[in-house]
Amino acid sequence: MIELEGLTKRYGGKLAVDGLTFTVRPGLVTGFLGPNGAGKSTTMRMVLGLDHPTAGDVRIDGRHYDELKDPLTCVGAVLDAGDVHGGRSAFNHLLCLAQSNGIPLTRVHEVLDTVGLTSVAHKKAKGFSLGMSQRLGIAAALLGDPRILMFDEPANGLDPEGIHWIRTLMKSLAAQGRTVFVSSHVMSEMALTADHLVVIGQGRLLADTSMADFIRQNSRSYVRIRSPQRERLLHVLHEAGITVVECGGGALEVDDGKAELIGELAARHRIVLHELSPRHASLEEAFMRLTAQAVEYHAHSDVPGGSWPRQASRAGWGTGWGAGRRKGA
Protein backbone atom coordinates (compact mmCIF):
# COMPACT_ATOMS: atom_id res chain seq x y z
CA MET A 1 0.00 0.00 0.00
CA ILE A 2 1.23 3.47 -0.90
CA GLU A 3 -0.24 6.38 1.03
CA LEU A 4 0.20 9.98 -0.07
CA GLU A 5 -0.82 12.77 2.25
CA GLY A 6 -0.79 16.34 1.03
CA LEU A 7 2.25 15.52 -1.06
CA THR A 8 3.65 18.70 -2.57
CA LYS A 9 6.70 19.50 -4.67
CA ARG A 10 7.72 22.98 -5.69
CA TYR A 11 10.46 23.68 -8.23
CA GLY A 12 11.34 27.33 -7.94
CA GLY A 13 8.05 29.14 -8.37
CA LYS A 14 6.22 26.27 -10.02
CA LEU A 15 4.14 23.75 -8.13
CA ALA A 16 4.80 20.43 -9.86
CA VAL A 17 2.77 18.42 -7.36
CA ASP A 18 0.11 20.18 -5.35
CA GLY A 19 -1.23 18.59 -2.19
CA LEU A 20 -1.88 15.08 -3.49
CA THR A 21 -3.73 12.82 -1.10
CA PHE A 22 -4.69 9.31 -2.15
CA THR A 23 -3.96 5.67 -1.40
CA VAL A 24 -2.82 2.98 -3.78
CA ARG A 25 -4.29 -0.30 -2.60
CA PRO A 26 -3.13 -3.90 -2.98
CA GLY A 27 -4.80 -6.38 -5.30
CA LEU A 28 -5.60 -3.78 -7.93
CA VAL A 29 -3.93 -2.16 -10.87
CA THR A 30 -4.15 1.54 -10.10
CA GLY A 31 -3.76 3.73 -13.15
CA PHE A 32 -2.11 7.10 -12.58
CA LEU A 33 -3.31 9.27 -15.37
CA GLY A 34 -2.54 12.78 -16.44
CA PRO A 35 -1.28 14.72 -19.43
CA ASN A 36 2.46 15.20 -19.91
CA GLY A 37 3.87 17.47 -17.25
CA ALA A 38 1.03 16.82 -14.81
CA GLY A 39 3.46 15.69 -12.09
CA LYS A 40 3.21 11.91 -12.41
CA SER A 41 6.95 11.21 -12.58
CA THR A 42 7.73 13.70 -9.82
CA THR A 43 5.17 11.98 -7.61
CA MET A 44 6.71 8.59 -8.33
CA ARG A 45 10.22 9.88 -7.60
CA MET A 46 8.99 11.13 -4.24
CA VAL A 47 7.49 7.71 -3.46
CA LEU A 48 10.98 6.25 -3.94
CA GLY A 49 12.61 8.97 -1.84
CA LEU A 50 14.59 10.23 -4.84
CA ASP A 51 13.08 13.71 -4.64
CA HIS A 52 12.34 15.34 -1.32
CA PRO A 53 8.76 16.63 -0.93
CA THR A 54 8.37 20.34 -0.26
CA ALA A 55 5.45 19.45 2.01
CA GLY A 56 3.35 16.44 2.87
CA ASP A 57 4.29 12.84 3.22
CA VAL A 58 4.35 9.55 1.38
CA ARG A 59 4.57 6.17 3.08
CA ILE A 60 5.04 2.60 1.93
CA ASP A 61 3.11 0.23 4.19
CA GLY A 62 3.34 2.89 6.88
CA ARG A 63 7.03 3.62 6.54
CA HIS A 64 9.18 6.10 4.68
CA TYR A 65 11.06 4.64 1.75
CA ASP A 66 14.50 5.14 3.31
CA GLU A 67 13.37 3.26 6.42
CA LEU A 68 12.71 0.10 4.43
CA LYS A 69 15.18 -2.73 4.91
CA ASP A 70 16.18 -4.09 1.49
CA PRO A 71 13.72 -1.79 -0.31
CA LEU A 72 13.80 -3.78 -3.57
CA THR A 73 12.04 -6.60 -1.73
CA CYS A 74 9.20 -4.19 -0.85
CA VAL A 75 8.93 -1.92 -3.89
CA GLY A 76 9.97 -2.61 -7.46
CA ALA A 77 9.91 0.36 -9.79
CA VAL A 78 10.67 1.29 -13.37
CA LEU A 79 10.80 5.06 -13.65
CA ASP A 80 13.01 5.46 -16.71
CA ALA A 81 14.25 2.37 -18.50
CA GLY A 82 17.35 4.37 -19.48
CA ASP A 83 18.54 4.61 -15.87
CA VAL A 84 21.21 2.00 -16.48
CA HIS A 85 24.99 2.19 -17.00
CA GLY A 86 25.22 1.41 -20.71
CA GLY A 87 28.65 -0.17 -20.39
CA ARG A 88 27.43 -2.81 -17.98
CA SER A 89 25.82 -6.06 -19.12
CA ALA A 90 22.20 -6.79 -18.26
CA PHE A 91 23.35 -9.61 -16.00
CA ASN A 92 25.82 -7.47 -14.05
CA HIS A 93 23.27 -4.67 -13.78
CA LEU A 94 20.79 -7.02 -12.14
CA LEU A 95 23.53 -8.72 -10.11
CA CYS A 96 24.70 -5.49 -8.46
CA LEU A 97 21.10 -4.58 -7.63
CA ALA A 98 20.46 -8.07 -6.22
CA GLN A 99 23.59 -7.96 -4.08
CA SER A 100 22.72 -4.56 -2.65
CA ASN A 101 19.49 -6.02 -1.27
CA GLY A 102 20.65 -9.51 -0.32
CA ILE A 103 18.72 -11.16 -3.16
CA PRO A 104 20.15 -14.54 -4.26
CA LEU A 105 21.89 -14.98 -7.63
CA THR A 106 19.31 -17.56 -8.79
CA ARG A 107 16.72 -14.81 -8.77
CA VAL A 108 18.76 -12.84 -11.35
CA HIS A 109 18.50 -15.76 -13.78
CA GLU A 110 14.79 -16.13 -13.01
CA VAL A 111 13.88 -12.53 -13.82
CA LEU A 112 16.04 -12.51 -16.95
CA ASP A 113 14.04 -15.51 -18.07
CA THR A 114 10.72 -13.91 -17.11
CA VAL A 115 11.35 -10.85 -19.29
CA GLY A 116 12.95 -12.87 -22.07
CA LEU A 117 16.45 -11.36 -21.94
CA THR A 118 18.41 -14.52 -21.09
CA SER A 119 19.99 -14.73 -24.54
CA VAL A 120 21.37 -11.16 -24.31
CA ALA A 121 22.16 -11.22 -20.59
CA HIS A 122 25.87 -10.69 -21.16
CA LYS A 123 25.48 -7.98 -23.78
CA LYS A 124 26.08 -4.36 -22.83
CA ALA A 125 22.89 -2.45 -22.05
CA LYS A 126 23.76 0.42 -24.39
CA GLY A 127 23.13 -1.87 -27.38
CA PHE A 128 19.56 -2.54 -26.23
CA SER A 129 16.52 -1.28 -28.08
CA LEU A 130 13.99 0.78 -26.15
CA GLY A 131 11.82 -2.30 -25.77
CA MET A 132 14.71 -4.39 -24.43
CA SER A 133 15.61 -1.60 -22.00
CA GLN A 134 12.02 -1.57 -20.76
CA ARG A 135 12.26 -5.32 -20.20
CA LEU A 136 15.52 -4.91 -18.30
CA GLY A 137 13.88 -2.25 -16.13
CA ILE A 138 10.97 -4.57 -15.46
CA ALA A 139 13.39 -7.39 -14.61
CA ALA A 140 15.03 -5.10 -12.04
CA ALA A 141 11.61 -4.24 -10.59
CA LEU A 142 10.65 -7.91 -10.24
CA LEU A 143 14.05 -8.87 -8.77
CA GLY A 144 13.09 -8.63 -5.10
CA ASP A 145 9.66 -10.24 -5.59
CA PRO A 146 8.14 -7.05 -4.14
CA ARG A 147 4.58 -6.59 -2.86
CA ILE A 148 4.42 -3.17 -4.51
CA LEU A 149 5.21 -2.42 -8.15
CA MET A 150 5.41 0.95 -9.77
CA PHE A 151 5.78 1.63 -13.49
CA ASP A 152 6.15 5.02 -15.15
CA GLU A 153 4.77 4.88 -18.71
CA PRO A 154 5.77 1.22 -19.21
CA ALA A 155 4.21 0.96 -22.65
CA ASN A 156 6.58 3.57 -24.09
CA GLY A 157 8.79 2.06 -26.72
CA LEU A 158 7.16 -1.35 -26.66
CA ASP A 159 5.74 -2.97 -29.75
CA PRO A 160 2.12 -4.21 -29.67
CA GLU A 161 3.24 -7.64 -28.51
CA GLY A 162 5.29 -6.03 -25.74
CA ILE A 163 2.37 -3.86 -24.68
CA HIS A 164 0.12 -6.88 -24.48
CA TRP A 165 2.79 -8.69 -22.47
CA ILE A 166 3.16 -5.92 -19.90
CA ARG A 167 -0.61 -5.49 -19.61
CA THR A 168 -0.97 -9.19 -18.82
CA LEU A 169 1.98 -9.02 -16.42
CA MET A 170 0.49 -6.11 -14.47
CA LYS A 171 -2.89 -7.79 -14.22
CA SER A 172 -1.38 -11.05 -13.01
CA LEU A 173 0.75 -9.20 -10.44
CA ALA A 174 -2.37 -7.49 -9.09
CA ALA A 175 -4.26 -10.80 -9.12
CA GLN A 176 -1.54 -12.18 -6.83
CA GLY A 177 -2.57 -9.52 -4.33
CA ARG A 178 0.23 -7.08 -5.11
CA THR A 179 -0.09 -3.32 -5.31
CA VAL A 180 0.41 -2.18 -8.89
CA PHE A 181 0.72 1.55 -9.58
CA VAL A 182 1.17 2.46 -13.22
CA SER A 183 1.27 5.86 -14.87
CA SER A 184 0.18 6.73 -18.36
CA HIS A 185 -0.98 9.66 -20.41
CA VAL A 186 -3.07 7.42 -22.64
CA MET A 187 -6.59 6.80 -21.36
CA SER A 188 -7.37 3.92 -23.69
CA GLU A 189 -4.33 2.01 -22.40
CA MET A 190 -5.51 2.48 -18.83
CA ALA A 191 -9.05 1.45 -19.67
CA LEU A 192 -7.70 -1.97 -20.66
CA THR A 193 -5.45 -2.41 -17.66
CA ALA A 194 -6.50 -0.46 -14.60
CA ASP A 195 -9.08 -1.38 -11.96
CA HIS A 196 -8.75 1.92 -10.19
CA LEU A 197 -7.96 5.34 -11.53
CA VAL A 198 -6.19 8.36 -10.10
CA VAL A 199 -6.26 11.35 -12.44
CA ILE A 200 -4.10 14.43 -11.93
CA GLY A 201 -3.65 17.62 -13.90
CA GLN A 202 -1.29 20.51 -13.08
CA GLY A 203 -0.16 18.54 -10.03
CA ARG A 204 -3.66 18.44 -8.52
CA LEU A 205 -5.92 15.48 -7.88
CA LEU A 206 -8.83 15.48 -10.33
CA ALA A 207 -10.30 12.05 -9.73
CA ASP A 208 -9.77 9.06 -7.48
CA THR A 209 -12.29 6.49 -8.54
CA SER A 210 -12.77 2.91 -9.65
CA MET A 211 -12.41 2.33 -13.35
CA ALA A 212 -15.99 1.06 -13.56
CA ASP A 213 -17.33 4.22 -11.92
CA PHE A 214 -15.25 6.38 -14.17
CA ILE A 215 -16.58 4.65 -17.23
CA ARG A 216 -20.15 4.80 -15.96
CA GLN A 217 -19.90 8.50 -15.20
CA ASN A 218 -17.92 9.57 -18.17
CA SER A 219 -18.79 7.46 -21.10
CA ARG A 220 -21.98 7.82 -23.01
CA SER A 221 -23.35 4.42 -23.81
CA TYR A 222 -25.90 3.94 -26.54
CA VAL A 223 -27.25 1.36 -28.93
CA ARG A 224 -26.83 1.79 -32.63
CA ILE A 225 -29.49 0.30 -34.87
CA ARG A 226 -29.85 -0.07 -38.62
CA SER A 227 -32.85 -1.52 -40.29
CA PRO A 228 -34.31 -1.60 -43.81
CA GLN A 229 -37.75 -1.12 -42.18
CA ARG A 230 -36.73 2.13 -40.59
CA GLU A 231 -40.14 3.81 -40.39
CA ARG A 232 -41.81 0.80 -38.80
CA LEU A 233 -39.00 0.44 -36.29
CA LEU A 234 -39.25 4.11 -35.35
CA HIS A 235 -42.94 3.69 -34.77
CA VAL A 236 -42.51 0.57 -32.64
CA LEU A 237 -39.81 2.17 -30.52
CA HIS A 238 -41.91 5.25 -30.07
CA GLU A 239 -44.86 3.11 -28.93
CA ALA A 240 -42.58 1.48 -26.37
CA GLY A 241 -41.59 4.90 -25.04
CA ILE A 242 -38.00 4.72 -26.24
CA THR A 243 -36.42 7.95 -27.44
CA VAL A 244 -34.56 7.55 -30.71
CA VAL A 245 -32.08 9.87 -32.34
CA GLU A 246 -31.66 9.70 -36.10
CA CYS A 247 -28.08 9.79 -37.32
CA GLY A 248 -26.45 10.05 -40.68
CA GLY A 249 -26.45 7.05 -43.02
CA GLY A 250 -29.86 5.89 -41.89
CA ALA A 251 -28.64 4.71 -38.50
CA LEU A 252 -30.58 5.19 -35.30
CA GLU A 253 -29.18 5.65 -31.81
CA VAL A 254 -30.81 4.99 -28.49
CA ASP A 255 -29.15 6.56 -25.46
CA ASP A 256 -28.58 4.21 -22.51
CA GLY A 257 -30.64 1.68 -24.43
CA LYS A 258 -30.66 -2.04 -23.82
CA ALA A 259 -29.73 -3.96 -26.94
CA GLU A 260 -31.62 -7.06 -25.69
CA LEU A 261 -34.82 -5.11 -25.20
CA ILE A 262 -34.68 -3.49 -28.61
CA GLY A 263 -33.81 -6.80 -30.29
CA GLU A 264 -36.75 -8.58 -28.69
CA LEU A 265 -39.06 -5.72 -29.57
CA ALA A 266 -37.99 -5.88 -33.22
CA ALA A 267 -38.41 -9.67 -33.31
CA ARG A 268 -41.89 -9.49 -31.85
CA HIS A 269 -42.87 -7.07 -34.63
CA ARG A 270 -40.96 -9.02 -37.29
CA ILE A 271 -38.67 -6.14 -38.16
CA VAL A 272 -35.42 -7.00 -39.86
CA LEU A 273 -32.32 -5.51 -38.21
CA HIS A 274 -28.99 -5.05 -40.02
CA GLU A 275 -27.21 -3.75 -37.00
CA LEU A 276 -27.81 -3.77 -33.26
CA SER A 277 -24.70 -2.76 -31.38
CA PRO A 278 -24.18 -1.45 -27.86
CA ARG A 279 -21.49 1.25 -27.92
CA HIS A 280 -19.46 3.49 -25.62
CA ALA A 281 -18.22 6.97 -26.39
CA SER A 282 -14.47 7.29 -26.07
CA LEU A 283 -12.98 7.54 -22.60
CA GLU A 284 -10.14 9.49 -24.13
CA GLU A 285 -12.65 12.27 -24.74
CA ALA A 286 -13.80 12.19 -21.12
CA PHE A 287 -10.20 12.27 -19.92
CA MET A 288 -9.36 15.24 -22.08
CA ARG A 289 -12.37 17.15 -20.85
CA LEU A 290 -11.36 16.40 -17.29
CA THR A 291 -7.77 17.54 -17.64
CA ALA A 292 -8.61 20.48 -19.87
CA GLN A 293 -10.73 21.75 -17.03
CA ALA A 294 -7.68 21.60 -14.76
CA VAL A 295 -5.72 23.68 -17.21
CA GLU A 296 -8.58 26.11 -17.47
CA TYR A 297 -8.87 26.32 -13.71
CA HIS A 298 -5.15 26.84 -13.38
CA ALA A 299 -5.29 29.83 -15.67
CA HIS A 300 -7.64 31.54 -13.24
CA SER A 301 -5.83 30.38 -10.14
CA ASP A 302 -4.77 33.88 -9.05
CA VAL A 303 -8.38 34.72 -8.28
CA PRO A 304 -8.44 35.42 -4.50
CA GLY A 305 -9.58 32.63 -2.20
CA GLY A 306 -8.90 30.06 -4.85
CA SER A 307 -8.46 26.93 -2.80
CA TRP A 308 -9.37 23.97 -4.95
CA PRO A 309 -12.80 22.61 -4.05
CA ARG A 310 -11.94 19.02 -4.93
CA GLN A 311 -15.17 17.18 -4.18
CA ALA A 312 -17.35 19.87 -5.71
CA SER A 313 -15.31 20.07 -8.86
CA ARG A 314 -15.21 16.33 -9.24
CA ALA A 315 -18.99 16.23 -9.16
CA GLY A 316 -18.84 19.22 -11.48
CA TRP A 317 -16.98 17.62 -14.32
CA GLY A 318 -19.17 14.52 -14.21
CA THR A 319 -22.42 16.41 -14.45
CA GLY A 320 -20.97 19.03 -16.75
CA TRP A 321 -19.95 16.41 -19.23
CA GLY A 322 -23.35 14.73 -18.93
CA ALA A 323 -25.19 18.01 -19.46
CA GLY A 324 -23.03 18.94 -22.42
CA ARG A 325 -23.71 15.60 -24.05
CA ARG A 326 -27.45 15.85 -23.65
CA LYS A 327 -27.38 19.27 -25.14
CA GLY A 328 -25.52 17.96 -28.13
CA ALA A 329 -27.68 14.85 -28.62
Binding site: L48, D51, D66, L72, D83, H85, R88
Partner: protein
Amino acid sequence: MTAVTQVLRSEWTKIRSVASTLWTLSLALVVTVVLGVLISALTRNEFDRANPADRLFFDPTYVSFAGMSLGQLAMIVFGVLVVSNEYSTGMIRTSLAAVPRRGTFLFGKIAVAAALALVVSVVTSFVAFFLGQAMLGPYRASLGDPGVLRAVFGGGLYMTLIAVFSMGIAAMLRSPMLSLGILMPFFFLISTVLGSVSATKKVGRFLPDQAGSRILQVVPSFGDDTPYGPWGGLGIMVLWVAAALAGGYVLLRRRDA
Protein backbone atom coordinates in the same frame (compact mmCIF):
# COMPACT_ATOMS: atom_id res chain seq x y z
CA MET B 1 24.40 -10.05 6.11
CA THR B 2 24.37 -6.40 7.05
CA ALA B 3 23.34 -3.61 4.74
CA VAL B 4 26.92 -2.35 4.57
CA THR B 5 28.33 -5.73 3.43
CA GLN B 6 25.60 -5.94 0.79
CA VAL B 7 26.46 -2.49 -0.55
CA LEU B 8 30.18 -3.33 -0.62
CA ARG B 9 29.50 -6.48 -2.65
CA SER B 10 27.19 -4.60 -4.97
CA GLU B 11 29.68 -1.79 -5.53
CA TRP B 12 32.40 -4.32 -6.24
CA THR B 13 30.23 -5.84 -8.96
CA LYS B 14 29.60 -2.36 -10.35
CA ILE B 15 33.24 -1.36 -10.42
CA ARG B 16 34.53 -4.57 -11.97
CA SER B 17 31.84 -4.64 -14.65
CA VAL B 18 32.66 -1.41 -16.47
CA ALA B 19 35.54 -0.93 -18.88
CA SER B 20 36.65 2.46 -17.54
CA THR B 21 37.95 0.85 -14.33
CA LEU B 22 40.42 -1.32 -16.19
CA TRP B 23 41.73 1.31 -18.59
CA THR B 24 42.10 4.14 -16.09
CA LEU B 25 43.89 2.02 -13.50
CA SER B 26 46.17 0.29 -15.98
CA LEU B 27 46.99 3.66 -17.53
CA ALA B 28 47.92 5.00 -14.07
CA LEU B 29 50.27 2.07 -13.55
CA VAL B 30 51.85 2.05 -16.98
CA VAL B 31 52.35 5.83 -17.26
CA THR B 32 53.85 6.11 -13.77
CA VAL B 33 56.22 3.19 -14.25
CA VAL B 34 57.32 3.89 -17.84
CA LEU B 35 57.91 7.59 -17.25
CA GLY B 36 59.75 6.82 -13.98
CA VAL B 37 61.99 4.31 -15.77
CA LEU B 38 62.79 6.75 -18.59
CA ILE B 39 63.61 9.62 -16.27
CA SER B 40 65.69 7.35 -14.03
CA ALA B 41 67.68 6.17 -17.05
CA LEU B 42 68.23 9.75 -18.24
CA THR B 43 69.25 10.87 -14.76
CA ARG B 44 71.90 8.16 -14.56
CA ASN B 45 73.42 9.27 -17.86
CA GLU B 46 73.44 12.91 -16.77
CA PHE B 47 74.63 12.29 -13.22
CA ASP B 48 78.36 12.85 -13.86
CA ARG B 49 77.67 16.20 -15.49
CA ALA B 50 75.41 17.42 -12.61
CA ASN B 51 76.75 20.09 -10.22
CA PRO B 52 77.94 19.03 -6.74
CA ALA B 53 74.95 20.53 -4.91
CA ASP B 54 72.54 18.49 -6.99
CA ARG B 55 74.62 15.41 -6.34
CA LEU B 56 74.61 16.09 -2.60
CA PHE B 57 70.83 16.37 -2.50
CA PHE B 58 70.28 13.58 -5.01
CA ASP B 59 67.13 11.59 -4.10
CA PRO B 60 67.06 8.36 -6.15
CA THR B 61 63.72 7.28 -4.65
CA TYR B 62 62.03 10.53 -5.66
CA VAL B 63 63.51 10.32 -9.16
CA SER B 64 61.89 6.93 -9.75
CA PHE B 65 58.52 8.51 -8.85
CA ALA B 66 58.83 11.17 -11.54
CA GLY B 67 56.08 9.48 -13.56
CA MET B 68 53.55 9.99 -10.78
CA SER B 69 52.82 13.58 -11.78
CA LEU B 70 51.34 12.26 -15.02
CA GLY B 71 50.13 8.91 -13.69
CA GLN B 72 48.02 10.67 -11.06
CA LEU B 73 45.94 12.19 -13.85
CA ALA B 74 44.72 8.69 -14.76
CA MET B 75 43.91 8.20 -11.07
CA ILE B 76 41.87 11.40 -11.17
CA VAL B 77 39.94 10.09 -14.18
CA PHE B 78 39.32 6.82 -12.33
CA GLY B 79 38.04 8.63 -9.23
CA VAL B 80 35.83 10.98 -11.22
CA LEU B 81 34.31 8.28 -13.44
CA VAL B 82 33.54 5.90 -10.56
CA VAL B 83 31.22 8.49 -9.04
CA SER B 84 30.02 10.62 -11.95
CA ASN B 85 29.15 7.63 -14.17
CA GLU B 86 26.18 7.13 -11.86
CA TYR B 87 24.93 10.58 -12.76
CA SER B 88 25.78 10.73 -16.44
CA THR B 89 24.01 7.42 -17.11
CA GLY B 90 21.00 7.94 -14.83
CA MET B 91 22.03 4.84 -12.89
CA ILE B 92 22.00 7.00 -9.74
CA ARG B 93 18.19 6.79 -9.55
CA THR B 94 18.28 3.00 -9.83
CA SER B 95 21.10 2.85 -7.27
CA LEU B 96 19.40 5.11 -4.73
CA ALA B 97 16.12 3.22 -5.10
CA ALA B 98 18.10 0.08 -4.17
CA VAL B 99 20.12 1.75 -1.41
CA PRO B 100 18.12 4.76 -0.20
CA ARG B 101 20.47 5.64 2.67
CA ARG B 102 22.75 8.19 1.05
CA GLY B 103 25.66 7.68 3.45
CA THR B 104 25.72 3.91 3.05
CA PHE B 105 25.56 4.27 -0.70
CA LEU B 106 28.25 6.95 -1.12
CA PHE B 107 30.74 5.67 1.43
CA GLY B 108 30.21 2.06 0.36
CA LYS B 109 31.04 3.06 -3.19
CA ILE B 110 34.04 5.13 -2.16
CA ALA B 111 35.35 2.41 0.18
CA VAL B 112 35.36 -0.16 -2.63
CA ALA B 113 36.89 2.24 -5.17
CA ALA B 114 39.49 3.44 -2.66
CA ALA B 115 40.49 -0.12 -1.74
CA LEU B 116 40.96 -0.99 -5.40
CA ALA B 117 42.89 2.24 -6.00
CA LEU B 118 45.09 1.45 -2.98
CA VAL B 119 46.04 -1.99 -4.30
CA VAL B 120 46.86 -0.61 -7.76
CA SER B 121 48.68 2.43 -6.33
CA VAL B 122 50.88 0.43 -3.96
CA VAL B 123 51.77 -2.01 -6.73
CA THR B 124 52.48 0.95 -9.05
CA SER B 125 54.66 2.62 -6.45
CA PHE B 126 56.73 -0.51 -5.74
CA VAL B 127 57.15 -1.40 -9.41
CA ALA B 128 58.13 2.20 -10.26
CA PHE B 129 60.66 2.15 -7.40
CA PHE B 130 62.30 -1.17 -8.26
CA LEU B 131 62.49 -0.57 -12.01
CA GLY B 132 63.63 3.03 -11.47
CA GLN B 133 66.38 1.96 -9.11
CA ALA B 134 67.50 -0.70 -11.56
CA MET B 135 67.93 2.06 -14.15
CA LEU B 136 69.84 4.25 -11.74
CA GLY B 137 72.48 1.51 -11.36
CA PRO B 138 75.27 2.65 -9.04
CA TYR B 139 73.31 5.62 -7.70
CA ARG B 140 70.34 3.59 -6.60
CA ALA B 141 68.67 3.53 -3.20
CA SER B 142 67.56 0.34 -1.53
CA LEU B 143 64.34 -0.38 0.32
CA GLY B 144 66.29 -0.79 3.55
CA ASP B 145 67.75 2.76 3.48
CA PRO B 146 66.25 5.16 6.01
CA GLY B 147 62.97 6.68 4.85
CA VAL B 148 62.81 4.73 1.59
CA LEU B 149 60.16 2.19 2.56
CA ARG B 150 58.04 5.04 3.94
CA ALA B 151 58.38 6.92 0.64
CA VAL B 152 57.52 3.91 -1.51
CA PHE B 153 54.49 2.94 0.56
CA GLY B 154 53.64 6.64 0.85
CA GLY B 155 53.62 6.85 -2.95
CA GLY B 156 50.81 4.29 -2.95
CA LEU B 157 48.90 6.24 -0.32
CA TYR B 158 49.42 9.48 -2.24
CA MET B 159 47.92 8.14 -5.48
CA THR B 160 45.03 6.58 -3.58
CA LEU B 161 44.23 9.86 -1.86
CA ILE B 162 44.32 11.70 -5.21
CA ALA B 163 41.70 9.24 -6.48
CA VAL B 164 39.52 9.58 -3.37
CA PHE B 165 39.76 13.38 -3.48
CA SER B 166 38.51 13.22 -7.07
CA MET B 167 35.60 11.00 -5.96
CA GLY B 168 34.57 13.64 -3.41
CA ILE B 169 34.77 16.43 -5.99
CA ALA B 170 32.79 14.35 -8.51
CA ALA B 171 30.14 13.63 -5.84
CA MET B 172 29.75 17.39 -5.42
CA LEU B 173 29.79 18.34 -9.10
CA ARG B 174 28.08 15.21 -10.57
CA SER B 175 29.14 15.97 -14.14
CA PRO B 176 32.23 14.04 -15.32
CA MET B 177 33.24 16.78 -17.76
CA LEU B 178 32.96 19.53 -15.17
CA SER B 179 34.85 17.50 -12.56
CA LEU B 180 37.68 16.62 -14.94
CA GLY B 181 37.72 20.15 -16.32
CA ILE B 182 38.42 21.46 -12.84
CA LEU B 183 40.65 18.72 -11.42
CA MET B 184 42.95 18.18 -14.41
CA PRO B 185 44.17 21.76 -14.86
CA PHE B 186 44.23 22.19 -11.09
CA PHE B 187 46.64 19.33 -10.48
CA PHE B 188 48.58 19.58 -13.70
CA LEU B 189 48.98 23.35 -13.96
CA ILE B 190 47.66 25.56 -11.20
CA SER B 191 49.13 23.67 -8.29
CA THR B 192 52.53 23.39 -10.00
CA VAL B 193 52.57 27.08 -10.92
CA LEU B 194 51.55 28.18 -7.42
CA GLY B 195 54.20 25.92 -5.96
CA SER B 196 57.05 27.21 -8.09
CA VAL B 197 56.40 30.94 -7.98
CA SER B 198 58.02 32.22 -4.80
CA ALA B 199 55.21 34.65 -3.97
CA THR B 200 52.57 31.92 -3.86
CA LYS B 201 54.78 29.09 -2.70
CA LYS B 202 53.73 29.42 0.93
CA VAL B 203 50.08 28.94 -0.04
CA GLY B 204 50.78 26.44 -2.79
CA ARG B 205 52.41 23.95 -0.51
CA PHE B 206 49.21 23.52 1.48
CA LEU B 207 47.37 22.32 -1.61
CA PRO B 208 46.50 18.60 -1.48
CA ASP B 209 49.01 17.32 -4.03
CA GLN B 210 51.92 19.52 -2.89
CA ALA B 211 51.42 18.61 0.76
CA GLY B 212 50.76 14.95 0.05
CA SER B 213 53.72 14.45 -2.27
CA ARG B 214 56.12 15.44 0.51
CA ILE B 215 55.97 11.79 1.59
CA LEU B 216 57.64 10.77 -1.70
CA GLN B 217 60.86 12.56 -0.79
CA VAL B 218 63.59 10.79 1.14
CA VAL B 219 66.25 13.52 0.87
CA PRO B 220 64.81 17.02 1.35
CA SER B 221 65.66 19.40 -1.47
CA PHE B 222 68.21 22.21 -1.04
CA GLY B 223 67.06 25.07 1.20
CA ASP B 224 63.85 23.22 2.10
CA ASP B 225 61.85 25.18 4.70
CA THR B 226 58.57 23.27 4.43
CA PRO B 227 56.78 23.60 7.79
CA TYR B 228 55.57 20.00 7.83
CA GLY B 229 57.18 16.56 7.55
CA PRO B 230 56.21 13.66 5.27
CA TRP B 231 53.38 12.43 7.49
CA GLY B 232 52.30 15.96 8.32
CA GLY B 233 51.99 16.63 4.59
CA LEU B 234 49.97 13.50 4.11
CA GLY B 235 47.79 14.60 7.03
CA ILE B 236 47.08 17.90 5.26
CA MET B 237 46.10 15.96 2.15
CA VAL B 238 43.80 13.73 4.22
CA LEU B 239 42.05 16.85 5.52
CA TRP B 240 41.44 18.00 1.93
CA VAL B 241 40.06 14.57 1.04
CA ALA B 242 37.83 14.54 4.13
CA ALA B 243 36.48 17.98 3.21
CA ALA B 244 35.73 16.88 -0.37
CA LEU B 245 33.94 13.75 0.86
CA ALA B 246 31.93 15.68 3.44
CA GLY B 247 30.88 18.15 0.76
CA GLY B 248 29.87 15.32 -1.55
CA TYR B 249 27.85 13.62 1.18
CA VAL B 250 26.03 16.79 2.28
CA LEU B 251 25.06 17.64 -1.30
CA LEU B 252 23.92 14.07 -2.04
CA ARG B 253 21.66 14.15 1.01
CA ARG B 254 20.16 17.50 0.14
CA ARG B 255 19.72 17.18 -3.58
CA ASP B 256 16.97 15.50 -5.52
CA ALA B 257 18.35 12.58 -7.51
